[in-house]
Symmetry: C2
Subunit: 336 residues, 2 copies
Amino acid sequence: MTGAAPRPTLEAVAARAGVSRATVSRVVNGGDGVREPLAARVRRAVEELGYVPNQAARSLVTRRHDAVAVVVAEPESRVFADPFFALQLRGISKELAAHDNQLVLLLTEGRDDHARVARYLSGGHVDGALVFSLHLDDPLPGLIQQARIPTVFGGRPGWRGGRGDVVYVDSDNRGGAREAVRHLVGLGRSRVAHITGALDQTSAVDRLDGYRDVTGDADPRWIAEGDFTPGGGEWAMRALLDRCPDVDAVFAANDLTAAGALRVLRERGRRVPQDVAVIGFDDMLPVAEQTDPPLTTVRQDIEEMGRLMARLLLRGPAAEPASVVLPTTLVRRGSA
Amino acid sequence: MTGAAPRPTLEAVAARAGVSRATVSRVVNGGDGVREPLAARVRRAVEELGYVPNQAARSLVTRRHDAVAVVVAEPESRVFADPFFALQLRGISKELAAHDNQLVLLLTEGRDDHARVARYLSGGHVDGALVFSLHLDDPLPGLIQQARIPTVFGGRPGWRGGRGDVVYVDSDNRGGAREAVRHLVGLGRSRVAHITGALDQTSAVDRLDGYRDVTGDADPRWIAEGDFTPGGGEWAMRALLDRCPDVDAVFAANDLTAAGALRVLRERGRRVPQDVAVIGFDDMLPVAEQTDPPLTTVRQDIEEMGRLMARLLLRGPAAEPASVVLPTTLVRRGSA
DNA sequence: GTGAAAGCGCTAACAG
DNA sequence: CTGTTAGCGCTTTCAC
């Protein structure tokens, strides 16, 4: 494919306006230092010809692209199902727009795509990349680091051999988890269980660590593995009730998991919070406010995380690369 | 932001390998017509220097980008909630990957974004655009046509003044709707109602037209406006039952709507399909197979639509621009 | 303030 | 086969 009709060049505009290419260039890029009558003539010529600068040519000399790639190493099916990601993307989108940068979303599904994405990033199409490294064993982050373009990760990357100089934005998962569990303990609960998230994601591991920080070497039977989905929450809650019928509190790795757990608790006739107190994580309003009872949960500002990722990337390599860990806050509702 | 360390150029590789730039270029681009020993030397130099071609420079001369933009004129929130879109995107993604093209997803939310997207498309970053023009009054399609790059629309664009030469891929919404309603009539149903989709989308309008094709000038009270969501389906079904208690069949504009309608029917004690037969549209498996009873519905191959859009775009302006309307098929399950 | 000239890094004829 | 030579369209010193 070869773009449609030949589009007018700077040269053409210059000829039409009776000035030099340099002058047109100046006008097109803000117009400082060009006297008004001339500038007006140039603008008219641009208008008449429908001139649009060729970005490839421009980038070739400026080495800037005013575009940022967002790389998601997940099949669309998952990406598009995850409200968490949508929120983060919105934050990114807003921040980039404010800096007049174009957001370029690169989806990868499978090995072949990795190579293409790596090539795209190294190829000089974008000024930087925002990468979601959702899984511990994802090879993409490594590939991207080799592309040697400024990169900010969403969530602490957990890939083995992670070098020290990666920049990421994350919530204080461990601290938030601690606060949740402490709250349960403060409520007088002494048999606090935990339903984990998918343990190939650092967020799940960190929350588990936070739980352990408070409970110490708790009986491992009080830890049930989930996967951040309601179904996983149900399954784990059942297992938990079967092996520890006297559980009196549950800290779930996220709100969806908690929602699943709540369903099972009701099904088994446990009252929440009287018999079993439940705390989630995320504070996704559509979930947390709709459950019965409304969910006490650890809030993280997801959209802000996205915004911050973009900001960190755009500020360039000037400031030393410092990751940011955002604080979380406990939101009390009815479930604990 | 200014890309990181200065990256090696063709020149550098040529110097290191002791050949000319042209030779390196040949090797890098497939290597035909370069004798093996030389080619090997070049490859080693490329390797050692970590050379990656500068795409801006390449595009400047080839006028190709091997990248295609997918433009979605919807806020992320909606895009990411819609499984329909995810499926289409998957089809596109696969087809583009097969042709070694990079998919660049451009999201727009609000006026400001439109300008940026238009600029991006005109700026020569991509070889073409795939555009989802979901709403009748969307200004984006018009803007994009002005960008004068090859474009294929997803779904018949309904914008006023639509020129004749737009290329789009769509399902035979009208024909599918006709088949559904005819099926209901063939079942002996004589009071067939319709719950529409969001009528600012052509797909909803076309399905309504198909319904009318069969029912003729039916009493307008048998038509209730929905919005493609389960909630809308519930609401519309209630209205329908209130004003036409003797309704014996419902054609819903999509499966989600049908699912909502089914809930209300059960709630009101109507048996499906004995008292009221129900047909949906889409055949989204997770929905259609999970309802009770399983949903009879009009299937469209959504992923194939995506694939086709990409194929149409990639084949270039060679073949005359012909839109494609894919056939639908009625899938019989339990509800009608 | 404005223009002339020199490239940015690469590919594509065209010679040899 | 390989090297030489022109640019692609734009920005950017540097003179005027």
